[in-house]
């Protein structure tokens, strides 16, 4: 198909970007993201150029642009301001700030200003809940937005100051580490874990030695060379480490399944698509402990026999890209990445960073792999699972950032050391991202088994005017607990969590919390399956109907019905959990819902009884029979 020549204004920059991705269909998303960053949109001409250069049908490229929130075919202005819209941002007044900014810039929310200069809108949680309200301007994160800081931002935009010339202190992000335990306290130096790993030997007569000998025969590698990787894998298994992304699958089992899967090429993927509203621990790990993350990935590669790794970094954490690439370069220079790592012949491994572009669902591991392959981030059908059919259908281990950190420490200190910490079913420690109504939001590391009450005391929750009403554990896809449950413990056997810990005090309206989460799920549903695509939108609309004062008991029943449908038939966890915040809060804080209901029975979209008024007047009747059944 012939196409008109592209816009000459685009040409030089576009050509430069496309050259890097020429003929690589798996790079579609990376190319589009770079184009978006350079031109603030991916114009239809640019879509056509990407399709031609990378060898992908144009419609499919357009489908990718349409999937990710940070990509768009239309320009959203030379400055696109996005307010993080997590409930914690709401509680800090983000909507008032948004309205103020719109007024200053003469622009309506969600619309491009008349002069094409600026647009202002909301986006899902940007992972800065401990220093909100937060915004993104052209993808760059700005925390702690106050009216004063907003005034400066408005001036910079109106003066059309290039982003690179904005004062650096606007972009300053704190780590806010408040409690350290074994992970954050470790005096880890790059290479510590790998040096121990490669030096491991088989205990004579052990199961590992037998396994090494058997594999040596099967894989054609000398038995001694397999001893160190297999012993490392054994330490991970012995540690009882479970995945820190929320699901809690045993890491050692996952690695072993991947190692045992047929095929020569294997991949290690670090899931740094930290999108769960309220969590931000991976941001801190990647900023302050990136070597530990990369070392954990390298340990994994050693144990499973992989040569290529990817870090999938959420688009909201774009500001981490350059620092992380510098650390990767340092590790290559130190022979902790690259060929023959630490002088071990054949231990070749390197890591590439891929950026997301605004899609929560990509945190689901198979959707993440689709996105790594440059496609729409739609969760795959399973089985087969990524450990056998992952990236490019090859065996792939996907783990959370925190899991790789723990794995590095286990490689360094041994599995027995690790399993002794925490509880019997939950070994080790957990990083919590504490935010909301508390004096000291930030990162808290605790051994598993710590009660919620302890965390609340340490972060200064309930110390002010209001006591603590509820805590949302693990974000909207987790659970909401009330004060009667604060003795419950952070552990897989009681309150499993990916890390979010959002505190609400008695001044908060838990209905509004659930409504914010309902909007989040509807916005982030990938739309693949019927129940989630339609059901999350129905839940959102029903919550809005209740908020508008038109809700009835019928609507609450409909939510229960939607929950059942989503649990039974949704394609992935997003749909399964979409109704949880609503049902959790409805169960614990029902009066907050009921006081909004117009009547406790049924309220149609229009006033049926009112429609009979003319007939009553004409017949002169006003008895019960001339009315529809009504509440007294």
């Amino acid at each position: 198909m012939t196409r008109p020549q592209g816009d000459p204004a685009l040409e030089p920059g576009l050509t430069l970007i496309l050259e890097r991705h020429l003929g690589k269909p798996h790079h579609v998303l990376q190319a589009l993201r770079e184009i978006q960053e350079a031109f603030q949109c991916v114009s239809p001409q640019a879509v056509g150029r990407v399709a031609d250069a990378l060898g992908v049908p144009l419609a499919r490229v357009r489908g990718v642009v349409g999937f990710y929130a940070f990509l768009g075919e239309q320009t959203r202005g030379r400055y696109r301001v996005l307010f993080s819209d997590n409930i914690t941002d709401r509680m800090l007044g983000n909507m008032e700030l948004l309205a103020t900014l719109c007024e200053k810039l003469w622009v309506e929310q969600g619309r491009l200003s008349e002069d094409g200069l600026v647009s202002v809108d909301t986006t899902s949680c940007t992972g800065l809940c401990d220093q909100g309200p937060a915004i993104l301007v052209n993808g760059r994160a700005i925390p702690r937005v106050t009216p004063e800081r907003l005034e400066r931002i408005a001036e910079l935009i109106l003066a059309q100051t290039p982003m690179d010339a904005w004062p650096a202190e606007l972009f300053a992000i704190e780590d806010n580490v408040r409690r350290r335990d074994i992970l954050l306290n470790d005096d880890f130096q790059p290479g510590d874990a790998l040096r121990v790993a490669v030096a491991r030997v088989c205990v004579p007569g052990s199961e590992v030695e037998a396994a090494a000998n058997e594999r040596s025969w099967r894989e054609g590698i000398p038995g001694a060379a397999l001893c160190a990787p297999l012993s490392t894998l054994e330490e991970i298994k012995r540690s009882n480490l479970r995945g820190r992304g929320g699901a809690g699958f045993t890491t050692g089992m996952k690695w072993e399944a991947c190692r045992n899967a047929p095929g020569k090429e294997r991949y290690v993927v670090c899931n740094a698509d930290e999108g769960e509203p309220g969590t931000f621990k991976d941001r801190v790990l990647l900023r302050a402990h990136a070597d530990l993350v990369f070392e954990g990935m390298t340990v994994c590669a050693y144990a499973i026999g992989a040569h290529q790794g990817f870090l999938y970094l959420r688009g909201e954490y774009r500001f981490l890209l350059e620092p992380l690439n510098e650390i990767l370069a340092r590790r290559r220079a130190a022979n902790l990445l690259g060929k023959d790592i630490l002088g071990q012949a054949g231990f070749d491994f390197d890591i590439d960073i891929h950026l997301g572009a605004g899609a929560y669902v990509c945190g689901e591991e198979s959707a993440l792999i689709e996105s790594l392959e440059g496609k729409r981030g739609v969760p795959r059908n399973r089985p087969p699972y990524p450990v056998t059919h992952g990236y490019l259908q090859k065996p792939t281990t996907v783990n959370n950032v925190e899991t790789f950190c723990a794995a590095a420490l286990i490689a360094k200190h041994g599995g027995d050391w690790y399993r002794a910490i925490g509880t019997a079913k939950s070994a080790g420690t957990k990083l919590l991202s504490v935010a909301g109504d508390c004096a000291r939001p930030g990162i808290y590391e605790y051994p598993f088994g710590t009660p919620v009450r302890q965390v609340l005391e340490d972060c200064g929750a309930g110390a002010g005017k209001h006591s603590t009403l509820a805590v949302q554990i693990s974000g909207p896809s987790g659970v909401c607990i009330d004060a009667s449950e604060f003795e419950r413990r952070i552990a897989f056997e009681d309150l499993p969590t990916a890390g979010a810990f959002t505190v609400f005090d008695t001044s908060r309206d838990m209905f509004e919390v659930a409504r914010n989460y309902a909007h989040f799920f509807a916005h982030e549903s990938c739309g693949f399956c019927t129940p989630c695509r339609v059901g999350t939108a129905m839940l959102r609309d029903t919550m809005d109907k209740i908020a508008d004062g038109h809700g009835t008991a019928h609507d609450l029943a409909e939510i229960q019905e939607l929950d059942k449908v989503l649990h039974m038939s949704a394609h992935c966890g997003l749909g399964h959990t979409a109704c949880n915040p609503t049902l959790d809060t409805l169960k614990r804080f029902r009066p907050m819902y009921e006081r909004r209901l117009k009547s406790l029975d049924f309220e149609p979209a229009f006033d049926l009884d009112g429609a009979l008024a003319t007939a009553r007047r004409m017949t002169g009747r006003d008895d019960a029979g001339a009315h529809l059944e009504m509440e007294p």
Binding site: M1, V65, G66, N381, L392, C529, P531, A537, S569
Partner: protein, 251 residues
């Protein structure tokens, strides 16, 4: 029970390795209601109408690999209620006006609705704004009725080797797009003879000027319900036998 059979509502169903539950069931004469599954294409499991209960857990039968000894429940009140709700959701999501739709009687969504006893949409309608694409001289695209089953996407890429269609957007904003920089069907290389012209289960991809050539009353689902016809259409042995059709295969 032999090695390669499972139970569907108590009936023994034989299967070949690589078949999914619905493929084996249809081949053996066991009907499981379905919408986005088409015997000629690799199942992708998006509509969820074919959901069944297996050993206490629910799963889409089109993508669930058949295994010896599975106990599959399909024709139960609980599962049929779920299917009815899913079909109602599709009716509420798009703009479906059967009495004035030229696909009425030939429409799979409508036929399934009748068969499952759908009397109303049951939910508030979304009434989305979806402009039609009438740019092509011979083909009309009426997106109002699209249920996002991706059959046209699959047919156009896998059979026609053209990739005229793809999906864009996400969530409720997910929609069909066509393979032209202008975004118009007229600028694609679609042809009336394409497989993509045949597979639309609803009234999105329509040949112009023949809408009512076949009178209402003499259409596909007028004489007998879809459940009676689906088994006749099922290929025996089904396509995909001998490999795991549910497994993603790199193109």
């Amino acid at each position: 029970m032999t090695d390669n059979t499972f139970l569907l509502d108590g009936e023994e169903i034989p299967f070949q390795p690589g078949q999914t539950v619905i493929q084996a069931a249809l081949a053996a004469g066991g009907y499981i209601p379905h919408l986005c599954y088409h015997p000629e294409f690799k199942p992708h499991g998006s509509c969820k109408v074919c959901t069944v209960k297996v050993n206490g857990r629910t799963a889409a039968s089109c993508t669930l690999p058949a295994q010896a000894g599975l106990e599959v429940e399909s024709d139960t009140d609980e599962i049929n209620d779920l299917r009815r709700t899913l079909v109602q959701m599709l009716f509420a999501e798009g703009n479906h006006f059967c009495p004035s739709c030229e696909k009425s009687g030939n429409c799979t969504l409508q036929a399934l609705g009748y068969d499952l006893g759908v009397m109303t949409a049951g939910f508030r309608h979304f009434f989305p704004d979806r402009p039609v694409d009438a740019s092509h001289p011979d083909i009309l695209l009426d997106f109002n009725r699209c249920i996002l089953c991706e059959l046209c996407v699959r047919a156009s890429c896998e059979v026609d080797d053209k990739c005229v269609f793809a999906l864009s957007g996400r969530g409720l904003g997910k929609h069909l797009v066509v393979n032209a920089e202008s975004g118009l069907l007229a600028d694609t290389d679609i042809a009336l003879t394409d497989k993509a012209m045949e597979v639309c289960p609803v009234g999105v991809i329509l040949k112009k000027r023949v809408g009512f050539a076949q009178p209402i009353g003499q259409r596909r689902y007028d004489p007998e319900p879809i459940s009676a016809q689906a088994l006749r259409d099922a290929p025996r042995p089904p396509a995909g036998a001998g490999h795991c059709a549910a497994c993603e295969v790199e193109e």
